[in-house]
């Protein structure tokens, strides 16, 4: 079947069977290897992508389920040299250690901040619980979300 969908704001058409996992489509067909596979069972969240803005596990998603929909991967979160505020904050606060879980965590955090601009720690924990990280102990990740939140709100105020 011909799959038409949007990947990182770009209309994309691919010939697919429909039964491929979206993660394979992204990694193998589109070369978007920022999306990682850590368990293949939706438990670790390393494969998180945004489907119409909401975090989902791309390892539990069939290509036919994304027809007509919009996917954002880590590569699509920012353009060129620029960084999304969440990306910048992760780098700044030391929220990155081995980095394998980072793309998923960044996307989940970005989705959280789009939904709740100034989340509490509890809200963060709820929103990020689907992304396992074995290195950081999550503390610096919380700090990163807080920093990104502050920066995004400041930027919004400045624009107004």
């Amino acid at each position: 079947m011909k799959l038409k969908f949007t990947v990182n704001r770009r209309a994309t058409t691919l010939e697919v069977t429909g039964a491929e996992r979206v993660i394979d489509l992204l990694r193998e067909r589109l070369g978007l290897v920022g999306t990682k596979e850590g368990c293949g069972k939706g438990e670790c969240g390393a494969c998180t992508v945004l489907l119409d803005g909401s975090p989902v596990c791309s390892c539990l998603l069939l290509s036919s389920q994304v027809a007509g929909r919009e996917i954002t991967t880590i590569e699509g979160l920012s353009e060129g040299e620029s960084l999304h505020p969440v990306q910048a904050a992760f780098a700044e606060t030391g929220a990155v250690q081995c980095g394998f879980c980072t793309p998923g965590l960044v996307l989940s955090s970005a989705a959280l901040l789009a939904d709740i601009p100034a989340p509490s720690r509890e809200q963060m924990k709820r929103a990020l619980a689907g992304n396992l990280c074995r290195c950081t102990g999550y503390q610096k990740i919380f700090e990163a979300v807080e920093l990104a939140s502050r920066n995004m709100r400041r930027e919004k105020r400045r624009r107004r």
Binding site: E28, L30, G31, L32, V33, E75, G80, E81
Partner: protein, 792 residues
């Protein structure tokens, strides 16, 4: 067949004949050349060429290209983060033209797309408006004040000179004075592998390029400058090189910069591979020279003075022209003692394809000039060509044209005698004369000789580094900042490491260069690799041996200086002489050990904390140069060689067949016999093409050919049987006495052939190549511009 060499007992590995260490990859087709590197998700880059040899750019419209589906980036000069130019001598070579185009190979825009096809389509859809300017195409006219300027500072690229003695006095002492003009053509390197590169975004915003690069460090400099990155973030790696001959330097810098710009812009790997047409159009060539020689000699044939004026066509950019022409000034007189010399070499900018380094590097042109001249002088004096040469050749303690007193064994005479003896020069010459009176085709025999400075010389301070790492199992990894480009550097350096550490070559891995892992070792040019990298490798090895000796001595219970490292074993040297290192009955160490595998020794050393890793750095001996007078010790040592060619010329058709070739070179020491022979065979073939067929002709800045259908290279049937006589006068500076060979083998083939042709014809042709027309009619045909060759 080449003369058999006696194996020297002093060495284990040096001088043996081993296959190139990369031979298996190449014969199995598994070697990975520039275009064989691919990455998932890579894009394909293409260039938009200038449509005019000389024009001002009024506007560049990329809007249609940008909107094509599958196009990921379209870049122009405005997108360059750093400087929009590079160049070793004059950093003015433009990456993406902004105001002006200077030759047809200039590029105004680049495209990255999902496929080659889309990229090509995108390039076509770019429109550029120009204001056409008059074309500068003649290097002599270019220097006239009336000529339009290719570059803002005028068209003089460089003026090199030598002033020795007083030529006026010299000519006044001369009984014979000859004035002759010679010309050589522009030729293409014609490496079989066109330029190719894969650029990948690297760590930390850096860039990694892998491709068919010859001089990694100069390309890295260009990339860092254009991309505004620190050198440490720019990583250049060499793919297996499918030939270079000096050709994959600036042309590759431009390609690498363009690919890298696209890769950094898109965040994806970008591959760019030149078609042969692109390569022919854009890549630089060997300088065409117009040479005026005036020579004076006494009646006995001794040279008194030489005055030489040369005009070189630099083309659109300076590239290596200042260095190429400098070597020409040093070698212009040929390997002769000339008391009074005045040489001027001018290189001028034109709107022709630019010229730069090519095997020989400014010497093949002047070798043709000086060696044709010597034959003409001989004829004028009524002497034979050998006699007049032998009278004048440089000898030990002679002083060169640049005033350098030679303090090593000077063997140009020996080389001449070698080839003339082997080729029975005088006898053949006499019998040819008789034959030619009656029969067709006409036969001729010619000789040539040269001296050549080793390495970079006073062009720059010369140094190189090699890292050697002995592994705990006794195998070795060596890596060099100078590269193997097909000339066999990997093998030569491996042999030296084998010699120093006493390992067999199969235990050594030679690593391709990587700019981030090895310090800048200068360019892999000027036949300097064996010499410079060889010395550096030996230093590294010696350092390791120094560190591990004490441990070996302790284990074997013998003095440090009696240890012998050979064939992956360490033993007492005294034992070796009696029974050989493999003997069981060899002497007994303190620990009851007689000998030790190198691997055991290495593990033992590692466990004791001895470092098995060393970096050798070798700085070449000093050279000197006085810009004003062109006097000085131009090179720290020289090599010498002589060639002899026999030809048959069909005077009805102009067809020339080289029937025999004899080549003799003093290389100091043959390191790898196989490799050395290969360099000579290849050099002769290249010189033959230069002499007989090859010409990259241009008219008003437009080339008249674009591929090998019209650019003729020697085929297997054109190449003569070549006999080789190596001379080994070990140089006190060289590794094991070795000097160099790669370029000498090439520079004097053409004059030997030309002299032979002239001998057969009984007529002098002073212009290369000796095409059918020149041989038959005494002049060349002018070529018409090729259809479509100037298209986008």
């Amino acid at each position: 067949m080449p003369a058999p060499r006696k194996k020297r007992t002093a060495f284990a590995a040096i001088g043996t004949s081993v296959p190139n260490v990369d031979a298996v990859d190449k014969v199995t087709g598994r070697a990975k050349y520039g275009a064989d590197h691919d990455r998932k998700g890579q894009l394909y880059g293409r260039v938009k060429y200038s449509e005019h040899p000389h024009a001002l750019i009024l506007s560049i419209d990329v809007s249609r290209a940008v909107n094509l589906s599958g196009v990921r980036a379209v870049l122009t000069h405005a997108d360059i983060p750093g400087e929009n130019s590079f160049g070793t001598a004059v950093p003015h070579q433009v990456v993406l033209c902004s105001e002006k185009v200077r030759y047809l190979g200039d590029v105004v825009a680049i495209v990255a797309a999902d496929s080659e096809e889309i990229a090509a389509k995108a390039v076509e859809s770019i429109t550029v408006k120009y204001k056409i300017l008059p074309v500068v195409s003649d290097p002599v006219e270019a220097l006239s004040p009336r000529s339009p300027a290719v570059h803002a500072g005028g068209n003089l690229c460089v003026h090199q000179k030598v002033r020795k003695g007083d030529v006026g006095t010299g000519f006044s002492q001369s009984e014979v004075v000859l004035e002759r003009e010679y010309a050589t053509q522009k030729v293409e390197h014609a490496y079989m592998e066109p330029e190719a590169v894969l650029a990948e975004p690297g760590e930390n915003g850096g860039i990694t390029v892998t491709g068919s690069v010859q001089n990694l460090y100069s390309i890295r400099r260009g990339l860092a400058r254009v991309l505004a990155l620190p050198l440490g973030r720019v990583r250049v790696r060499q793919a297996t090189l499918g030939g270079s001959f000096g050709g994959k330097d600036e042309a590759m810098t431009a390609l690498c910069c363009r690919a890298a710009l696209l890769a950094l812009k898109t965040g994806r790997p970008v591959k760019m591979v030149n078609t042969r047409e692109n390569s022919m159009r854009e890549s630089y060539k060997r300088h065409p020279y117009r040479m005026k020689y005036k020579v004076g000699a006494d009646r006995r044939g001794f040279l008194k003075a030489m005055e030489i004026t040369i005009h070189a066509d630099a083309g659109a950019y300076a590239a290596m022209s200042p260095f190429v022409t400098w070597r020409s000034t040093v070698q212009a007189t040929g390997p002769y003692v000339v008391p009074n010399v005045r040489t001027d070499v001018y290189a001028a900018y034109t709107n022709n394809c630019y010229t730069s380094a090519m095997r020989g590097f400014g010497s093949p042109q002047v070798c043709f000039g000086s060696e044709s001249l010597m034959d003409e002088l001989a004829e004028k004096l009524g002497m034979d060509p050998l006699e007049v040469r032998l009278k004048n050749t440089l000898r030990g303690r002679s002083t060169t044209a640049t005033g350098q007193k030679l303090n090593h064994t000077v063997s140009v005479g020996e080389a001449l005698l070698n080839v003339t003896k082997k080729g029975r020069f005088l006898k053949t010459r006499a019998s040819n004369r008789k034959h030619n009176e009656r029969s067709h085709p006409k036969k001729g025999v010619g000789i040539s000789c040269s001296y050549r400075g080793v390495s970079l010389g006073a062009e720059g301070v010369d140094a190189a580094g090699v890292t050697v790492s002995l592994q705990t199992d006794g195998s070795v990894v060596a890596s060099s900042g100078l590269v193997d480009m097909g000339q066999g550097a990997a093998t030569t350096i491996s042999l030296m490491v084998a010699e120093e550490l006493g390992v067999t070559v199969d235990r050594i891995r030679f690593l391709g260069a990587d700019t981030s892992r090895l310090p800048d070792s200068g360019p892999t040019v000027a036949s300097r690799t064996s010499f410079m990298a060889g010395q550096a490798a030996r230093r590294a090895c010696k350092e390791i041996v120094e560190r591990i000796r004490p441990v070996a001595s302790e284990v074997l219970g013998c003095p440090v200086d009696s240890l012998l490292f050979r064939n992956n074993w360490v033993s007492h040297s005294t034992e070796r002489t009696r029974r050989g290192p493999g003997s069981r009955k060899a002497g007994r160490g303190r620990a009851g050990r007689k000998r030790l595998r190198l691997g055991e020794l290495a593990s033992l050393c590692f466990a004791r904390g001895v470092s098995l890793f060393a970096h050798g750095w070798y700085r070449a001996p000093a050279t000197s140069w006085d810009e004003r007078t062109g006097q000085g010790d131009a090179y720290f040592t020289f090599v010498y060689g002589a060639n002899l060619a026999e030809v048959e010329v069909d005077t009805e058709t102009g067809t020339v067949r080289v029937t025999r070739f004899v080549s003799s070179h003093d290389v100091g020491r043959v390191l790898n016999l196989n490799g050395a022979r290969g360099q000579v065979y290849g050099g002769v073939a290249m010189g033959l093409g230069y002499a007989l067929f090859e010409e990259y002709a241009e008219q008003d800045g437009r080339p008249s050919l674009e591929n090998f259908d019209e650019y003729l290279l020697p085929t297997v049937s054109d190449v003569p049987e070549t006999e080789i006589v190596f001379i080994e006068n070990p140089d006190r500076l060289g590794p094991y006495g070795a000097k160099s060979l790669g370029e000498p083998a090439c520079e004097i083939a053409a004059p030997a052939i030309a002299n032979a042709v002239c001998d057969a014809l009984g007529m002098r042709v002073r212009e290369l190549p000796l095409t059918l027309e020149r041989v038959r009619l005494g002049r060349g045909l002018s070529r018409k511009e090729k259809r479509g060759s100037a298209g986008p």
